[in-house]
Symmetry: D3
Subunit: 194 residues, 6 copies
């Protein structure tokens, strides 16, 4: 298969919205591609502070590929995945990754497999960064004026960041910012208070 034929299906990531936000009432949420890039940036922010040192660039690559199966599967929000039989979503992602990434390169396929297996520290770190990008985005949408996003709090508060203290640090910042917003400090006054 040509490079062009391998890359074209992945363009769908640039159009597909993160549907969890859409269902929750954010009218124009970021695309899956934008979320993946955001996850990679969280990796670059937190990764250098992790001890012992991670392979930072490999973690970035894991972030870049971690949602590529959604180019075929679309973004199933958590509530949707929970309605499927156990393991069904993971199995479908595996098939989609095979179809999308094998033509891209064995290395891309391997990065996704490493992420899925969750056996390396880099893979577990990236999964947390994926959730933490959602946390940063949550604060972002709330500061912009979005309301009614309370359902995302529980998932964030339940994250287990014990293995990676910098993740715990960002999570604490996110929850503190949410608390400030809850307390009636809307984005406007918050900005003035800085």
């Amino acid at each position: 298969m040509s490079f062009l034929a391998a890359l074209t299906p992945l363009l769908a990531l640039e159009r597909l919205p993160r549907t969890g936000w859409l269902v929750a009432g954010v009218a124009a949420p970021e695309s899956v591609a934008a979320h993946s890039l955001g996850t990679a940036l969280v990796v670059l922010a937190l990764g250098p502070r992790v001890r012992p040192a991670l392979d930072l660039d490999r973690a970035v690559s894991l972030a870049v590929v971690h949602d590529t199966p959604e180019a075929l599967l679309t973004d199933l929000p958590r509530a949707a995945a929970e309605l499927l039989p156990p393991g069904a979503k993971a199995e479908a992602e595996e098939r989609a990754a095979e179809r999308l990434l094998t033509p891209l390169s064995p290395e891309a396929r391997a990065r996704f497999a490493e992420f899925r297996a969750q056996e390396t520290r880099e893979a577990r770190f990236v999964r947390l960064c994926d959730q933490l990008h959602l946390g940063v985005r949550w604060i972002g949408y709330r500061r912009e004026g979005a309301r009614g996003l309370g359902e995302f709090r529980a998932g964030l508060a339940a994250l287990d960041c014990a293995e990676f203290p910098p993740c715990a640090e960002l999570l604490a910042e996110v929850l503190a910012a949410a608390h400030a917003l809850d307390g009636g400090l809307d984005g406007e006054r918050e900005v003035r208070a800085r």
Copy 2:
């Protein structure tokens, strides 16, 4: 549960895009709600011509509810559904319908169950109308200038409309219009030729 609490989750249908078009490159496709309404209008167009007579209004109700589970599940395009284990999507829809429609009314729940069972003529007719709305939309997007939608042809051409001759009639019109567009008759010149 209050009426308001039962109706609110269904508002997501008005925001969720029909993702199959999005993946295929239509930048701003219709919402799931708009597609459901469109299906109901196809029912109103073809239904009165079906012999023996259908219960037209009940068929309209089936069309109205047929995609309501997507308020929780989002719209999984066919290629995505095929990556899931067999029956997984139907099972998830069943659970989503239970959660969304039971609080709405037993009648709404019953309409969805009738649609799923595909045992009444009305239910089978509505499933065809669902596909035929996709066909009308396909012609619509192509006449507006969208290209690269060839993959939808096979699914349409394979529809078995034998039970409902008016469905076969609309399908033939759709395929003829597609053929005209293939032949270089773009929407512009077609309009002039009318």
Copy 3:
């Protein structure tokens, strides 16, 4: 006229925004098609509770067609309609319905005529459900963070639901939810309080 030629003009309903929201500052409101579907879902929620029993499915059909003239006329918000000579909007809708629905089917045309005449209980019920969908949407947009929508309250509060107690019930829920939002309970905290 072919089925396809009759259905194509109605695709505009999927694109036309509900302009009242747009004027009031909701950047991406639902389409006319989505509103019509939403009205049909309100019918399915409240209709089974009405006594004596309504013809529920016929009421759903009335909801499906009730705004189809807007495919030609576009959605004139109330303030716009009031600037037209008395009766002008209704007359134009009548002409648009003639042009759009007669080619669809006599049954579709008859459903619209029944809705317009407001003589059957089903027709009067659907008109209330049309307004109540606006009420549900109003709460929905406000919970998402939209502000400045106070003008919609008066119209809702003035609805006469005496003929249909379930409509009065949903209206009361809508006004109570609005009151909670007024009191500084934004969507965020409301969710936490559930």
Copy 4:
């Protein structure tokens, strides 16, 4: 009334789409405000070439206000206006202008009145420029790939530009560009041929 209270309702012009394009299948058409600005730019392009000389800046002001009533009325496409009783749209625009422009300034109100009366050369020129912006936009959307816009040709071809030769010149360019596009010269190849 404060300046702010007079200006705020006009912000709706920035959100309201030009619905004629929307109905014809352009998914994201320009706003009414953008069209008004575009009309003013057509005035600035053609006006200096009109003989005897026009009051160019006053013509620009007429263009700026000519569609302001749509902040209340929304943009009724031609097909919609023709379904209203004769004169109904003009009457409604008059009322909307009274409500919107009188609080702005007597001068703004006077500019609109001059445009409506169509008695000065500037007013007649601006009405043509309004139509010609639609013509330029038509070519623009078609070059971008939009199809199915044939219905706009007749209205343009019927424009009477006799009083203003530069308008006739631009109209001829628009129709020639449309003809080139009809002939299979899509925007792509046209660009290469330049």
Copy 5:
């Protein structure tokens, strides 16, 4: 160059968003074209109250052309412009105006030159109206529910309106409206309080 070739590049103004809002979190801000029209409307609101009298219509023309270079340059928010070498943005605008407006008409080019030079009272007045439209828009977005826009306050509060008292008046109204919004009076309750 033909009129059509001169007008076509300016269509980009209708699509380009005002990026300052986008960066600040307004998901669907007005286009550059809509902002220019809005500036012209502020001119029409305040201009007639300025003493000694301005050439109102010429000021409107200045407003219409003042951002046309952005059709080539795009809208650089203030923070971006400050990262460029001093004078770089103005120089680039000059070049863009030469390329875009000279083919339009010498008059259009002259209006832009007058605006840039900031030597006439009309030019200085329009620059203030440009900023004041941003102020009106700021209140508009905040009343609609946008939050996190506190950064715009400082720029507005620092405007020197001494030369044009009506500008000072509108600015005071904008700041008072912002203050009311800060005080927890969201758009909803504000509307009720009127």
Copy 6:
């Protein structure tokens, strides 16, 4: 500075459109974030085929950060950058990177510096992949129906891929696909011919 405060400004990348497409008439182009992710995917496709072997994951990191300054600067299309004084854009990007990436992590800052310096093979490879993503996107938009994008061809055809043969291969595929589209093979028929 907190992690959250460092990450928040980068959310703008998810909203900012790639303005070059917007100016050229693509109504809803990808965001800067989506483009950066797309560049990283091109790196993962081509990188493994480069000889001698590149540090693939470091190249992915360079791709992830290469456009981050645009969170402050916005996306200046090539035509805009050429109107600025020589070096002005690069200088501004340097300042923006300093402000945005230094708070993120020294590693993120270093990756950007490496990309800018264009001294390593990875940096030069990523610059080509950046252009090649534009090429893939160009084919994507054209296959979807966009027209009038001929101006992008010259920039692509002029790319010097001599150092990296896989880049030359993808470029050849892109230009061949463009040629096929020029020849009247629109996306529709192409799909059928596969």
